[in-house]
């Protein structure tokens, strides 16, 4: 009730005289130009809203498609950039050359001999030579025994083959595979297993002997090749182990001594004891190049 009276503005907050005076004096009207501006704005608003609605409807799909097209264009541009193609080609060329460089290291006859020496019983030349030898001894070709292959005996590498053969235990499963094909499925007794193992040992020893002979052959071939190409080798490999190799005619140790490392070593020791230090040094350099893994019984 009190609030209603206040809202109706009783005499305390409203005075008819003041209101009348104010209303009589407040006769300003809005300028027509101002009316026109506001009404024009009010008329234009719904049209703009319709246009804005149209743009708002198509804005997102349009933006998405534009982004997609620009991304594809950028990708194509980057793919077809001419500066990148030579770099890619160069990288491909480098990748192609690297394995070739490692594979084609031995390029001359001496390196071929060295390769045969390194590959040992696995080298094709040795296999050919062995087959020829077998034919000459037995009169008929023999196929290589699977039990004696370098892979089964872990003889694939020439460095430390002997030690590996002696130290590496061969599992019995591998022994089974070394048996004759006809007895592959038969039960293996301990005796047969030990017999197979002994055969394998024997075959390994035989292989090692053959390998020693191969090494001798390789060394001889190496010396012959080196003697034939010595001038070029000395020119090219100055400072290397081959550079200090003396002339064949001036060699102090005999060929027979060089075939046996112990004899060769003894020859070097004798040279040193005789006071021929230069000859001993030259022989020692050649010896070290030929037998890098040789452990001397005592220092010369």
């Amino acid at each position: 009730m009190n609030q209603d009276r206040d809202n109706n503005l009783p005499s305390a907050e409203s005075d008819p005289l003041v209101s009348a005076e104010y209303r009589a004096s407040a006769t300003e009207r809005t300028p027509p130009a101002l009316d026109a501006v506001v009404l024009e704005k009010a008329r234009a608003a719904p049209k703009n809203a319709r246009l804005r609605g149209f743009y708002a409807l198509w804005f997102r799909p349009l933006a998405f498609v534009t982004t997609l097209v620009l991304s594809l264009a950028l990708l194509l541009e980057l793919t077809n950039t001419p500066q990148l193609q030579p770099i890619l080609d160069a990288e491909t060329e480098i990748g192609r050359r690297q394995p070739q460089a490692s594979e084609t290291a031995p390029t001359d006859a001496a390196d071929g001999v060295i390769s045969e020496f390194r590959h040992g019983v696995d080298s094709p030349a040795w296999i050919e030579r062995r087959d020829a030898k077998n034919e000459s001894t037995s009169g008929k070709p023999q196929s290589p025994e699977p039990s004696a292959s370098a892979e089964n005996l872990n003889l694939s590498d020439d460095v430390g083959d002997r030690e590996r053969f002696e130290l590496t235990p061969v599992p019995m499963n591998d022994v089974k595979t070394t048996q004759a094909p006809g007895s592959a499925n038969a039960p293996v007794s301990d005796e047969r297993a030990s017999a197979g193992f002994a055969e394998m040992i024997e075959a390994g020893s035989k292989r090692m002997q053959e390998k020693d002979s191969v090494m001798e052959t390789a060394i001889q071939g190496l010396h012959q090749t080196r003697a034939a190409e010595e001038p070029q080798i000395e020119e090219v490999a100055a400072g290397s182990a081959f550079a200090v190799v003396p002339d064949r005619a001036a060699r102090s140790c005999l060929e027979e001594q060089m075939s046996d490392p112990l004899k060769w070593w003894q020859c070097i020791t004798d040279l040193k004891a005789a006071g021929r230090d230069d000859d001993a040094k030259a022989e020692l350099d050649l010896f070290n190049a030929t037998y890098p893994d040789f452990e001397p019984p005592d220092a010369p």
Binding site: Q3, A24, S25, R29
Partner: protein, 179 residues
């Protein structure tokens, strides 16, 4: 306003014709400058037009309109504080050029006297008085528009009316300018 929201421009024109003059006078007496009042007037109607989509009929349109006008005037004051400080002493409430000379002179005198008294009122009291006289708002609505409680609005209105009443009851010998 709801019809205008649906695209009926004629409805807006009707609404505008109903409120344009009172709003203009309200702003003219608040800004005390014709150009400033016209700028704020356009701004107010621009906001009304722009807000038609989000308009909800929670109160009378008059309340909504004068609340927007009140806020626009405050923004205008903040934007042009320095300029208004210089123009405060020189209100531009000249006579309407469409009036007859005698009538204009008589109206001019009364208007001059009233405007002089209005100028002496504090801004808050003048605001409340103008909202009451021009917009015809109740105390509750005035309190809502100005952002104060009802008792404050009531007190301001009472002070404003008392001052105007005292000034108008004085003889018109030029002493009406005294507060």
């Amino acid at each position: 306003m709801l019809r205008y929201k649906d695209g009926d421009v004629a409805a807006f024109e009707t609404l505008y014709r109903r409120h344009n003059d009172s709003l203009y006078r309200y702003l003219l007496r608040r800004c005390l400058d014709r150009n400033a009042a016209e700028d704020v007037f356009q701004e107010v109607w621009g906001k009304i037009i722009k807000s038609r989509r989000s308009y909800r009929r929670t109160a009378k349109f008059t309340t909504f309109l004068y609340r927007v006008a009140h806020n626009c005037f405050i923004d205008h004051i903040r934007r042009n504080k320095r300029h208004l400080a210089a123009s405060d002493a020189d209100p531009d409430l000249s006579a309407d050029p469409s009036d007859e000379p005698d009538l204009a002179a008589e109206k001019g005198l009364a208007r001059e006297r009233l405007n002089a008294v209005l100028l002496t009122l504090p801004d808050e009291q003048r605001d409340v008085f103008l909202l009451h006289e021009e917009a015809g708002l109740t105390l509750d609505t005035i309190a809502h528009v100005t952002g104060v409680n009802r008792e404050t609005a009531k007190s301001r209105l009472r002070y404003a009316v008392n001052k105007l009443k005292a000034a108008l009851s004085e003889p018109a010998d030029g002493s009406g300018n005294q507060p």
